[in-house]
């Protein structure tokens, strides 16, 4: 019986019903899955449903009663200029993040991969932003951007470009771009590391063979490296996508969405509504709309870019 049991286990079948081992087997599956299910239900699934329900109420979060208002919050959201301009800002962050961060990250990765041993130092310095919290980076750049004694202003003055000095975070025309620059500063090193790993995974023989066949380094990059990095690129794009749509920490400490909504994002608007102006009902509506947008966009990206490949642990 023991042998048969092992054989069934080996081919991935459940053990025969009714045996003591089978009972222990099922018990184990249940006991081992329950803690995970508990956490996911209490902190993810239930909150999503609860937000959907709360989006139909008007409530300040404190009073014992909440008033059912049907789809009033939702029709307010459809006409809410601030929400849609926040959404547009998210899209701007998204597009610029993908267009700037990923090519820059790839360029740096190619450099680092071709460079000698001293590139290790370069890599280490580059990686530092990844280790700081977004809030620390945000506060640091508030001072880098300070129009009077910030580093950026001082640098521009030092090289004789003082006409270019702006009120980086105070001017609604450029505040969003100033913030995006910091986002790029924070994440380009990350994409560099990602692409570097991708490049390291390309067999050296390919390079040798291509060069022997008379390919130039440029041709090698465009025809060999780039296509082989396609998988990494797709992963990077979907990460940038999700990150840009849910961005919060850095903007919250740098501008809190200001000046006059110029850097408002869906997440900052939601937190403001729910926790600062205590419109919990409408805050839930904003949160749920954001949830739908993010799940829709990144869900599409996730399934489009999903691919079967070897285990990530094999590299």
């Amino acid at each position: 019986m023991g042998v048969e049991m092992v054989e069934r286990a080996r081919v991935g079948k459940a053990p025969k019903r009714g045996t003591a081992y089978q009972r222990e087997y099922s018990l184990c599956a249940v006991v081992f899955l329950l803690p995970m299910i508990f956490f996911l239900v209490v902190f993810v699934v239930w909150p999503i449903l609860s937000s959907a329900q709360m989006s139909l109420f008007a409530w300040n979060g404190v009073s014992p009663t909440r008033q059912y208002v049907g789809f009033q919050n939702w029709s307010r959201l459809i006409g809410d200029r601030i929400f849609w301009s926040a959404f547009r800002n998210n899209l701007t962050v998204l597009v610029l993040s993908i267009v700037i961060q990923i090519p820059m990250g790839m360029a740096l990765a190619v450099l680092v991969s071709n460079g000698g041993r001293w590139m290790v130092v370069f890599k280490t310095v580059c990686f530092l932003p990844m280790l700081m919290s977004s809030v620390a980076i945000g506060i640091l750049f508030k001072y880098v951007y300070d129009p009077y004694f910030g580093v950026l202003t001082a640098s521009l003055k030092a090289v004789g470009l003082s006409p270019l000095v702006r009120n980086w975070l105070g001017d609604p025309q450029i505040a969003l771009y100033s913030v995006i620059a910091v986002v790029c500063w924070q994440f380009i090193p990350f994409y560099m590391i990602l692409f570097e790993a991708g490049i390291a995974g390309i067999p050296v023989e390919l390079h040798e063979a291509a060069i022997i066949d008379g390919a130039t380094e440029n041709q090698y990059f465009w025809h060999i490296t780039l296509p082989l990095l396609w998988g990494t690129t797709r992963a990077a794009v979907s990460l940038a996508l999700f990150g840009s749509l849910t961005y919060f920490d850095l903007v919250w400490v740098m501008t809190t969405g200001g000046p006059s909504g110029a850097t408002e994002l869906m997440a900052t608007y939601m937190v403001k509504k729910a926790f600062l102006s205590t419109e919990v009902g409408y805050g839930s509506t904003v949160a749920f709309a954001m949830f739908l947008i993010v799940v829709l966009i990144s869900g599409i990206a996730f399934f489009v870019t999903r691919r079967k490949e070897s285990s990530p642990w094999s590299s």
Partner: protein
């Protein structure tokens, strides 16, 4: 040909130098300004190293609540990562090694958690935390921290456990080893390399987590480090060198860990990214 090559070298060198400056200058600014007095910071150029370096900023941080926040962060991160790994490892064992009817739909559902923005849960989790009396307690952070790191951890650990040879398991079963013992005495120890990588990956993220701490914790003595940084900045916004000193000190722990365990951290981040 030689000229082209030389030109390329110069271009490469220029590009790396520029990026090194862009990446490094803010750090230089942060690290050295902390040693300036408030007056000196305004009086001399931001580039200049402090003429009269002072440790006053750091001393007042140490006397203040820095170590309390540091300790809070440490407790929350260690507890959360421990729970994440245990809960995920148990679930991954089931997904990787047992077959039952709802296995693959359940697995897909867990993975779908990767694209849920945390903001949808903020209000309900906040209300729940108040209702069960955990508001402004470090315990309040652990639930959401664990829940939002389960999907990626389960995903990667399941793949890891699938690489453990089945023969070991068969042998253990022959010897009458049940699934519980199998997990704790064979699968879990063999998963150590994967667990270690995931521990670091999760810890880096949780160490820097801000939004849940921001809505669930209100008093400075319960703050985690990122929250303390923001509170401190709100309180002493005019004393820039002191704030920069705090930023330096609060970033140091991870930077030191990175210097020691560079490989593991980058590996963890790459895997989390490619699969997440």
């Amino acid at each position: 040909m030689v000229i082209v090559k030389a030109f390329k070298k110069v271009m490469m060198f220029g590009f790396t130098t520029i990026w090194l400056l862009v990446a490094g200058v803010p750090f230089y600014f942060m690290a050295q300004s902390g040693f300036k007095g408030q007056f000196e910071f305004l009086a001399i150029s931001v580039w200049a190293l402090p003429k009269h370096p002072t440790l006053a900023n750091f001393a007042s941080l140490m006397k203040g609540s820095f170590f309390i926040s540091f300790g809070n962060s440490l407790i929350v991160v260690i507890l959360s990562v421990g729970i994440i790994l245990l809960v995920s490892a148990m679930a991954s064992f089931v997904f990787a090694r047992m077959k039952f009817r709802f296995s693959s739909p359940l697995f897909s559902l867990v993975i779908a958690g990767l694209i849920v923005p945390i903001h949808i849960t903020l209000i309900p989790v906040y209300l729940l935390t108040i209702r069960i009396g955990l508001y402004n307690s470090l315990w309040a952070l652990i639930g959401p921290y664990v829940a939002f790191h389960i999907p990626i951890t389960v995903f990667l650990l399941t793949e890891f456990m699938r690489t453990i040879p089945k023969e070991l398991e068969d042998a253990a079963r022959m010897d009458g080893c049940g699934p519980f013992r199998l997990f704790f005495t064979i699968i879990l120890p063999l998963s150590k390399p994967g667990l270690a990588t995931l521990a670091i990956y999760n810890a880096v993220f949780l160490w820097n987590e801000f939004i849940f701490a921001y809505i669930l914790i209100s008093s400075p003595e319960r703050s985690t480090l990122p929250l303390a940084v923001v509170q401190y900045q709100g309180q002493y916004f005019s004393n820039i060198p002191a704030i920069l000193a705090l930023l330096t000190v609060s970033s140091l722990p991870l930077i030191l860990i990175y210097v020691v365990m560079q490989e593991r951290i980058t590996k963890g981040m790459i895997m989390g990214a490619l699969k997440g």
